[in-house]
Symmetry: C2
DNA sequence: CTTATAAATGTTATATTATTACATAACGTT
DNA sequence: AACGTTATGTAATAATATAACATTTATAAG
């Protein structure tokens, strides 16, 4: 069961915005959108984003410097993430595929390194963009 | 067989630096290191990096905004990359595991999206850091 | 060899992304 | 209430990356 986190005021404002947007949002675009709510400085945004990432409510799309709400209700925490990214329309969606996540979570190679976390980003053309 | 690319002057200077360093390097650290060779502006560095990434001589570690020489001699091009990153010492190495790359290259889900590229980053503690 | 084209370079300025440092306030426990 | 922890506010600045424009060099075609 996912631990309930009581989001603080800024965290809630920012999570709600990202969640409602339905897609990835960039930090300064978030800032612009929440200025009317009194959040005026980049640091206020980044602090909320850091916390939201930490507790798994959002994920960072590293290749895009953008943040997206977790679309996977069973996502314990952001330790195992996979996304598909359309290189044409920049649509992003979270992949939740049990076989894939099991495969990667159990992955071990000869390096002697213990993996506690991974992030995978697939790129390509989405259905819409392919048919154009 | 990998296509031979004749690197230009700046590309060669920058590739050699990254390659010799043996690890990931950041753009502005590269800039600092090549200023004595006449490369004076960030854009000169980024242009060479872009090209080197494009032809697969280096890869970008997205979560670190850093660039590393391709350690995989058979790497056709940067369409399928996997790295292991130590969260303590920040050591990075490229994973070349045939089973893993086959698994991911053939991955398809129900989204109807065709994946032409992926990047995977594993995080954890390397052998050295684990034993500290 | 020359002309055309593409690729690379040089340079200045600026945009975008993210953090440091410091002060204050709110929350949760005992 | 006193304490420690978490969150907030604010200003300044650091780190990462691109736009715009002028020029030069490499490559290929005639």
């Amino acid at each position: 069961m996912q631990k309930e986190h009581n989001l603080s005021k800024n965290q809630k404002i920012i999570f709600d915005l990202i969640d409602k947007s339905g897609g990835p949002m960039k930090a300064y675009s978030i800032l612009f959108n929440v200025q009317k709510k009194g959040i005026k400085a980049p640091l206020q945004v980044y602090r909320a984003l850091d916390k939201l990432v930490e507790i798994g409510k959002i994920h960072k799309i590293e290749s895009r410097n953008a943040f997206i709400a977790c679309q996977n209700s069973s996502c314990q925490i952001s330790k195992a993430t996979a996304f598909s990214i359309c290189e044409s329309c920049e649509n992003v969606s979270e992949i939740s595929n049990t076989k894939l996540s099991k495969y990667l979570s159990n992955f071990a190679d000869s390096s002697g390194m213990k993996y506690s976390k991974y992030n995978l980003e697939f790129f390509g053309l989405c259905k819409k963009c392919k048919s154009k």
